[in-house]
């Protein structure tokens, strides 16, 4: 065999053992969950077999679909607002020392505030309504976008901007055509963080204000002892969390292949 063939063979062998050990671990986890619940817990507690049986029932349930749609739309809307507000602010902070020095402590400070504490306040301001949820999502998401865009704008190579200014490009033009594109990987990293936080924000807002959505669907079903059904909602939330991570990771690799950033951005 040639070297390439050997290494291909080894790679395939490694892949199959990896897949096998993943499968075995997954099965062991599910099985021990199932056994633990059957042995020690009351009948209503979620267990893998029950959740599996509930999936076909729940995903055609109009109430579930509607709740999912509401929450996702709110998260998308909140992220759009956070992007629209966060990108200009981040660019300004990254490119202007004065703006950076006067705003950075506020942005870092608000970023460190556990978003959940603003719930009593936003429900006071916006009532127990979708607006309170939207405000929570925006609060949860916007600061990680600002911080990452500012980092990105700060790291633009000086040469690019010097070339632009020697061609007498206006500052705004340079901002849109040079700074923004080169800050995009940072923006994506910020968006990944922001999306995770936005999802948490939406769920806690629904728990707190009891307005309709996926979080409330989980809360309501678990209160009425339909844990299997409620757990399908948790699975969907997990899928969104993972899906967004993968989406950002693959789009970074696909559209910005020259860019390698560590996972440690957060």
């Amino acid at each position: 065999m040639t070297d390439a063939a050997i290494s291909r063979h080894q790679a395939r062998a490694w892949l199959s053992t990896a897949a096998l050990s993943r499968l075995v671990c997954g099965l062991v986890l599910l099985l021990s969950w199932e056994i633990a619940v059957r042995a020690f817990a009351p009948a209503y507690v979620a267990k893998p077999s029950g959740v599996l049986a509930a999936i076909p029932r729940v995903i055609v349930d109009p109430a579930f679909l509607q709740a999912t749609g509401i929450t996702l739309a709110a998260v998308a809307e909140g992220l759009a607002i956070a992007l629209a507000a966060g990108i200009p602010l981040g660019l300004a902070m990254g490119r202007s020392l004065i703006v950076d020095r006067s705003l950075r402590h506020y942005v870092n400070g608000f970023y460190a505030v556990p978003m959940i504490v603003v719930l009593p306040l936003v429900s006071l301001w916006f009532g127990y309504s979708g607006a309170a949820r939207l405000a929570t999502i925006v609060f949860a998401a916007v600061f990680s976008i600002i911080i990452n865009v500012a980092d990105g704008a700060r790291s633009v190579p000086k040469d690019y901007l010097e070339v632009a200014s020697s061609f007498r490009s206006r500052r705004l033009r340079a901002m849109v055509d040079i700074v923004l594109p080169s800050a995009t990987p940072y923006l994506l990293a910020g968006l990944r963080l922001a999306a995770g936080r936005a999802l948490i924000g939406a769920v806690v807002a629904e728990f707190f204000t009891a307005i309709g959505g996926l979080g409330y669907f989980i809360l309501y079903n678990s209160r009425t002892y339909k844990h299997d059904e409620a757990f399908v909602g948790v699975l969907l939330l997990a899928a969104f969390g993972v899906g967004f991570e993968l989406f950002v990771a693959t789009s970074t690799r696909r559209f910005l292949p020259w860019y390698r950033r560590d996972e440690h951005a957060n």
């Binding site: 671990c25 608000f110 460190a112 505030v113 728990f207």
Partner: protein, 249 residues
């Protein structure tokens, strides 16, 4: 003007501007929605003086520290164990990644239904929020150990304990500390979530009572306290991470 002046002036000026803005907006809106900074500080002082704030703070701190300690005490050894047994690591990695990306708040209703209102379930919430960053980053660190290092150690007949002390720990610890920093932030969210949605205690209870009594000054005062706590903890986390980052090259 000195350089120090131009360096620090924007910070102080914007801080004063922010406080003035808070004061002015607060004075010109209904007290039910927003109170000025001065009222917030007076309310804060009242709570401090009565000893209420301190008592509830200690309550919250006990919850936070118990959850965080459990997360580090379980997450780190588990991560190191996975580092040593690659088959286990490869097998469990995708599941840990999924749990790391899952919003753990969604599990709170189940914890409430199963475990009720005691201290234990609340510690579990903080633990669940905090453990996966520790575990995930420790495994990440374990992956960074070059197999050659372990092979060399083996070739020199290193004992298992020496292998852990000299190779495993130094290589994974900086990564674990990144996880600990994230865990501190997430644990704080978990703490407030547990105090809101399980039995009401600590700073979370103070906020809830204040907002139910339409004591807006109280709400702002506690949010200010938790916010400052968040900033201080984030600083602490960064400090810890950077202390260990020197090992990582």
């Amino acid at each position: 003007m000195s350089r120090a002046w131009s360096r620090h002036a924007p910070f102080w000026l914007s801080l004063i501007a922010g406080m003035a803005l808070w004061e002015i907006v607060g004075r010109n809106t209904s007290a039910a929605f927003m109170v000025p900074l001065s009222t917030t500080l007076v309310r804060l002082w009242e709570m401090l003086a009565s000893g209420e704030l301190w008592k509830q703070f200690l309550d919250s701190a006990a919850l936070f520290l118990a959850g965080l300690a459990a997360a580090i005490g379980i997450g780190m050894p588990a991560g190191l164990l996975f580092a040593r047994i690659p088959a286990l690591r490869i097998g469990l990695e995708p599941y840990i990644m999924v749990l790391y990306a899952t919003p753990m708040v969604a599990l709170i209703p189940f914890i409430l239904a199963l475990m009720g209102f005691g201290f234990g379930p609340k510690v579990l919430v903080v633990f669940l929020f905090a453990v996966f960053p520790v575990l995930y980053n420790t495994i990440e660190g374990a992956r960074s150990i070059k197999p050659e290092l372990i092979e060399v150690a083996r070739a020199y007949r290193s004992s298992e304990s020496a292998l852990w002390r000299e190779v495993m720990l130094p290589y994974t610890l900086p990564y674990t500390m990144t996880g600990v920093r994230q865990a501190i932030g997430r644990g704080l969210v978990g703490m407030v979530a547990a105090e809101f949605f399980l039995s009401s205690t600590g700073l979370g209870q103070l906020i809830m009572t204040a907002s139910q009594n339409f004591d807006t000054g109280g709400v702002f005062a506690i949010i200010l306290i938790i916010g400052l706590l968040g900033v201080a903890l984030m600083r602490l986390g960064l400090f810890i991470e950077q202390r260990f980052a020197r090992w990582r090259n």
